[in-house]
Amino acid sequence: MKQAVPILRWFSSLQLTVVLLALSIFLIFAGTWAQIDLGIWTVLSTYFRSWIVFIPLQIFLPREWNVPGAIPYPGGFLLGWLLFLNLVTAHAVRFKWQWKRAGLILIHAGLLLLIVGEFVTAISAEENRMTIVEGDTVNYAVDIRAVELAIVDRSDPDRDQVVVVPGSKLARHSVIRDPKLPFDIRVEAYHQNADLLEGVERAGGAVVADQGVAATRALSVRRLPPASGTDRDRSDFPAAVLTLEKNGTRLGTWIVSLFLTLTDVPPQPVTVDGRTVDITLRHKRVYKPYSMSLIDFRHDKYPGTETPMNYSSDVRLIDEAHGEDRQVRIYMNNPLRYRGETFYQSSFLEGDQGTVLQVVKNPGWLLPYLACAIGALGLTIHFGTRLSSFLRRGRA
């Protein structure tokens, strides 16, 4: 313990607190600048929900200067946990546990819980979207920030056999082999955001795909910069050029693109070993053990205007395992909470044909409330004690 004391002293020092807070301020500054080029969620995961981040020098300079290089910098997780340790060790080493300091201890306990709460949210919260057309039933939500390559065998009349390859795998690996896959996948190109060019628009760009919709329409892929935090209403359309192989024999090269999927281009067939499977690049799906049918979507406007007054979705929730079959109305500020998930009325389809629900699951949702309550109690006690001693001194 004696050996540990200097380390504890170092960890508990006020100088470290100041340095960590200064580093945090600069991280927020850099993360804000980074959103000129990157989407808010990309910045969140690379700058704030990471242990280390390489901050490109370019983000602080005019883009036309084209400055290479990056500085390694502690990410949000590292700074958060160091601040956590700093505060815990300060209480263990420097601060005295006295009743008159109870307010301060509670304030710090609130801060520690806030750090833990954000960490739990960062690693475990899920935020998906469920789109239901009126009259339809849906048993999955999609993560609009992630894509997956779905390989679907529709030969069974009742069930579809699905194998999904996460988009992150397509981005990281050049060859993907897996016993679950009916073929090997060679990733010729993967772009987080890409445009599909057709015919005269190609301007000489090579057509690399010889199968599927890309071959019939002479499509080629052009990489685009990812949608950034400063782009309003823009999102990425990932695309990949994939060569599929079976036992070393090339089946062909396909282009898959989220844009094709979202514009209702049918999945592309691939024939392998005498059976046909479909491939499509789609938003990552998260299947639920229950289903929801949209009975009615209402979009009320103030009379005589286009100003929305209210959005509401009447849904039927069916969960056979839990014996649930009931009708629920979800409307603004009145979400449905079910099985640890919260369903918010988020948006709707053009022409009021369907609803879009935001499905949020956050096991740590209570922690910030608790942290704030503890902090508020601490502040009340701390300043209450100060006020009463001030009043006592005044009387004396």
């Binding site: 815990v88 060790t89 190609r202 071959a215 281009v265």
Partner: protein
């Protein structure tokens, strides 16, 4: 405290592992189905129960059915190669004005604009009470490439966003800009319900119809005729018994059927320098199950002159000796900005019989606007 904190930290370290490939079973799901290419009749029908645009064609414009994702193609008569307006419905995901304008700007060699700069580039045209965003963009002229121009109309509907696009060299597009704009003013969307026949999308009032021209007449000559016909700037004379398929299919200028199921001739025109002859040869070889070749010279063929150009007639067949194994014969004709490919495909034995007629047919091919041999 420190060991506890470190243990907690280690336990909570989020995994940096790759996400795994997963397999699962789901109840059967509906799959989007591509609407089949509509019949080549003036009364083009779209899938009933859907929102369909209607318009009045300017004088001298002709409508041909779309295929694949394209709803319809409007052709300006008397232009060679045909100047087209593409009518394409896309989901609302493709609606973003800034994205579209910047994509078009990039395609014609202009720098992208920002959210604040895009406004002045867009003008709203009233179309039956609905505003259509109209954009006209002209690219810079370069010594090796003439300036390109895009005229675009974006009409957000209830279900989809409709794009009307004319994209070609500025010198060809500019004379038709006023007609394009007037045309956009006539576009309106109507919803048709299942079972209710969708009326013709093109309405040609008698006073706008060119004398002697039937509305949206087909370019195809009567089947079996030996008359000179053509499409997309190429003309030819069909051998007896050959017929033009009125629905050429995606990306094809024309499809010609050989008699008695003896195969088909596909005529395509791809823009871009070089047109990737080798890539195309290997694509056709792949379709026949043949291994790729390293260069065009490695592909069997014979020298031939077509439309005044010395080229090669490539000949490739599926492996084996079955008489019905597939065979492809193809010539490529280079133009400065595009490559033509004339390809006949069919059973080996049938093509052996049809080969002389194909060579005779190639001898009649002319590319418009150039000196004939």
């Amino acid at each position: 405290v420190l060991p506890v904190a470190l243990a907690l930290l280690a336990a909570l370290l989020p995994g940096c592992r790759d996400e795994a490939i997963r397999s699962y079973e789901v109840p059967k799901e509906a799959v989007p189905v591509m609407a089949p290419a509509p019949p080549a009749t003036p009364a083009m029908t779209a899938p009933a129960h859907r929102e369909v645009p209607h318009w009045t064609l300017p004088r001298g414009w002709r409508e041909v059915p779309g295929s694949g994702m394209r709803f319809a193609t409007l052709v300006v008569e008397g232009t060679d190669p045909p100047l087209e307006v593409r009518v394409t419905p896309l989901s609302h995901a493709a609606r973003d004005l800034l994205d579209n304008v910047n994509r078009w700007r990039q395609q014609i060699g202009l720098d992208p604009v920002t959210t604040t700069e895009v406004g002045p580039l867009v003008r709203q045209i009233d179309a039956g009470g609905r505003p259509i965003d109209f954009v006209s963009l002209t690219g810079p002229a370069a010594p090796e490439a003439p300036a390109k121009q895009i005229l675009a109309g974006i009409l957000p509907g209830q279900e989809q966003v409709w794009f009307f696009l004319m994209f070609d060299e500025a010198a060809r597009v500019a004379p038709h800009a006023a007609a394009f704009e007037a045309f956009l003013g006539t576009v309106h969307l109507e919803t048709h319900h299942a079972g209710e026949p969708a009326p013709a999308s093109a309405e040609v009032p008698p006073d706008m119809m060119p004398a002697g021209d039937a509305p949206a007449s087909s370019a195809a000559p009567p089947s079996g005729s030996a008359a000179t016909s053509g499409a997309g700037g190429m003309t030819w004379t069909l051998p007896p018994g050959w017929s033009i398929d009125p629905t050429p299919g995606d990306m094809r200028v024309a499809t010609i059927r050989l008699p008695e199921g003896g195969g088909e001739v596909a005529i395509t025109r791809f823009g871009g320098p070089g047109g990737d002859l080798l890539a195309n040869i290997n694509r056709w070889r792949n379709q026949l199950g043949l291994a790729p070749v390293a260069g065009p010279a490695d592909q069997a063929g014979e020298s031939i002159t077509v439309a005044g150009r010395s080229t090669r007639l490539f000949d490739m067949s599926e492996a084996g000796s079955a008489p019905d194994r597939r065979r492809t014969m193809v010539v490529g004709l280079a133009e400065p900005d595009a490559n033509w490919f004339i390809k006949v495909t069919g059973p080996h034995a049938a093509l052996a019989e049809a080969a002389p007629a194909f060579r005779q047919f190639l001898g009649t091919v002319r590319i418009a606007g150039e000196a004939t041999p």
